[in-house]
């Protein structure tokens, strides 16, 4: 059951202090030289507020860009193998947009699909998500077309919505959210008759995701993908910034005496991604790679897990060097 409360700006500051005292690290959007990154903060004042979105997504917190899985040493006659035991601190992710918060669900589907990923789960267990509803949206956003919304509670343990009087509406959504509240219950006040919907950004849905998913199998051989991808330069930017993209590469860095195995982000947009040792590449053209990106997110994934592997955050669109606007391309596909 969701509990709905209110917190003042001053009390939020006190809550940050309480979180710190409880041994939790707080990560939030921080701005340096106009660039917004996820960084460690101690007070709400350090949290960037003018931005719409982090450039990269918060998936870094549970799926780092480079992560050691194991290391080893070879000695005459034996190998000493060490599983990596990542040092993970209890962490509060503060101020994540609802789209971004809901992205953890997609990652969870992948990392706990057939086997449970030790590293991902260890990080998720230690993580509490404090979401922050959106009061503005831009031309790249399309959360409402993929089942989300500017005030969606999905993925958050606790969701804040800024109120006109400088307070925040607080929705306590999970047991982890309750733990936060329990750290300093006196900081929260009852919320009476607050109209959350009225406070949120207005964003009309642009396309029907389920209709798109139904349509895609019939479009596989369409010229559309080659048309759309003509300007795509085939980098990894869209996948790397995406809160739901989970592809990784395993790299072994070793010499004759020791080595380590690293997991690092990878992207289906890169030519190398599907290149076989034989030299054959089943997705040899960018059109095929672009189609794969769309199909994975809006056809294959929904078939397996019942929802799109996309939260409509628009980060890919903003990060793309050539403005491959995903919302626009999906809308076009729906109308084809």
């Amino acid at each position: 059951m969701t509990t709905i409360l209110k917190i003042s700006a001053e009390s939020l500051e006190a809550l940050f202090a309480a979180l710190g005292d409880s041994g939790r690290r707080i990560l939030g959007p921080t701005e340096t030289d106009g660039r917004v990154d996820l960084g460690e903060v101690q007070t709400p004042a350090q949290v960037a507020d003018a931005h719409l979105q982090l450039t990269l997504s918060a998936k870094e917190a549970v799926f780092p860009r480079v992560e050691r899985l194991l290391s080893y040493k070879t000695m005459p006659g034996k190998v000493e193998l060490n599983d990596a035991e990542p040092d993970i601190q209890p962490t509060v992710l503060f101020g994540l947009r609802p789209c971004e918060a809901s992205g953890f669900g997609s990652l969870d589907s992948v990392f706990n699909w057939d086997s449970r990923d030790k590293f991902f789960n260890a990080r998720v267990e230690q993580m509490t998500v404090v979401g922050l509803s959106c009061t503005q949206a831009d031309d790249a956003c399309f959360c409402t077309s993929v089942g989300g919304g500017p005030g969606s509670t999905k993925g958050s343990d606790l969701l804040l919505t800024p109120l006109a009087d400088g307070h925040y509406l607080v929705e306590i959504l999970t047991a982890k959210g309750e733990e936060i509240q329990a750290l300093a219950p006196h900081l929260f006040q009852p919320a009476v008759n607050e109209d959350k919907e009225a406070l949120l950004a207005k964003l009309e849905p642009h396309f029907d995701r389920e209709a798109l998913t139904a349509k895609l199998p019939g479009l596989f051989t369409s010229e559309l993908w080659a048309e759309q991808s003509l300007r795509c330069v085939g980098c990894g930017a869209c996948a790397f910034v995406c809160p739901t993209c989970a592809c990784f590469d395993i790299q072994e860095e070793a010499d004759t005496k020791e080595g380590q195995r690293l997991r690092c982000w990878d992207s289906c947009g890169l030519r190398q991604f599907t290149l076989h040792a034989s030299g054959h590449n089943p997705r040899s053209a960018q059109a095929e790679r672009w189609r794969q990106r769309i199909y994975h997110k809006f056809s294959y994934f929904p078939q397996r897990f019942g929802e799109a592997m996309c939260v409509g955050c628009g980060k890919c669109t903003r990060a793309c060097p050539v403005d491959m606007n995903l919302k626009e391309h999906l809308t076009q596909a729906c109308g084809t």
């Binding site: 450039t55 831009d138 300007r231 330069v233 085939g234 930017a237 690092c264 030519r271 050539v322 403005d323």
Partner: protein, 267 residues
């Protein structure tokens, strides 16, 4: 703009080009690459001061080459890259029709490498004033400060390769980064991997970079990565007196030498 659209239409109609590469309005009005193959497509073409990206990277793409004769709406960066690509024999001389648009909207057809060369010679320096200032600022720092500067910048790199993919001169089918038998440059975007990647890239662009700044603009996390390649290019220019993007005939500076090359550090 009408002049440009009409020109593109004429070229397509008369079969002088099968594709016209230019700019169109994108998300929130920003400019993005556009490809016109029909009269209807040309209506999307726009031209204004925001058309700053370098489009020349598309000229070497097989998908584009297959379409036939290409015309390209070309700003200074695109023209320079066009010349450099020709010098590096990635494009046959005079294979591409460049359309230079003046401020008043008039379109000049530059059909030969010579015409492009002459046109480019009259244009101002490639590097923007802001970039020049940043370069000077870096030069004025102590080397320890520069190290910290680049250490911090490069630690943000996620190795998405948007810089490489956007650079018209990074056309190699298999980049050194992708050579993995053995893996020469580390794949992960850790500190060493990033430093090695960007040093290799800058070294491989020394004498070839046309200083368009596209790689820096492409970077999703805002690293001014073009400063490295531009620096390497300028180092070549100063020491060996040749500039990439100035002519369609240019030997690769690091593929040649002069017995009297002058240095001061070899003992």
């Amino acid at each position: 703009m009408e002049v440009l659209r009409n020109k593109a239409q004429d070229l397509l109609a008369q079969g002088q080009a099968q594709i016209v590469i230019g700019y169109e309005a994108g998300t929130g009005g920003i400019r993005r690459p556009s490809f016109a193959r029909t009269a209807a497509d040309t209506a999307r073409l726009v031209w204004d001061a925001d058309c700053i990206s370098n489009l020349a990277g598309y000229l070497t793409r097989p998908e584009i080459k297959r379409m036939g004769k290409t015309a390209i709406v070309a700003n200074a960066s695109t023209l320079r890259a066009l010349l450099q690509l020709t010098a590096e024999r990635q494009l046959a001389e005079d294979a591409v029709l460049a359309l230079a648009v003046a401020e008043d909207g008039t379109v000049t057809e530059l059909a030969t490498a010579q015409a492009v060369t002459d046109h480019v010679a009259a244009l101002p320096d490639a590097l923007s004033a802001a970039d020049r200032e940043q370069m000077n600022l870096l030069a004025s720092m102590s080397r320890e400060e520069r190290w910290v500067y680049w250490e911090k910048e490069l630690q943000r790199c996620i190795k998405c390769y948007a810089c490489r993919s956007s650079c018209p001169m990074c056309y190699c089918g298999t980049c050194t980064m992708d050579c993995n038998k053995p893996q020469w440059v580390p794949v992960p975007s850790h500190a060493l991997g990033n430093l090695e990647y960007h040093t290799v890239r800058a070294m491989h662009l020394a004498g070839r970079c046309v200083e368009c700044g596209e790689c820096g603009r492409a970077c999703p996390v805002g690293i001014p990565i073009h400063l490295l390649t531009c620096f390497a290019e300028e180092s070549v220019h100063q020491q060996f007196g040749q500039k990439a993007g100035a002519s369609a005939k240019l030997d690769y500076a690091l593929g040649t030498f002069r017995p009297d090359d002058k240095e001061s550090f070899i003992r």
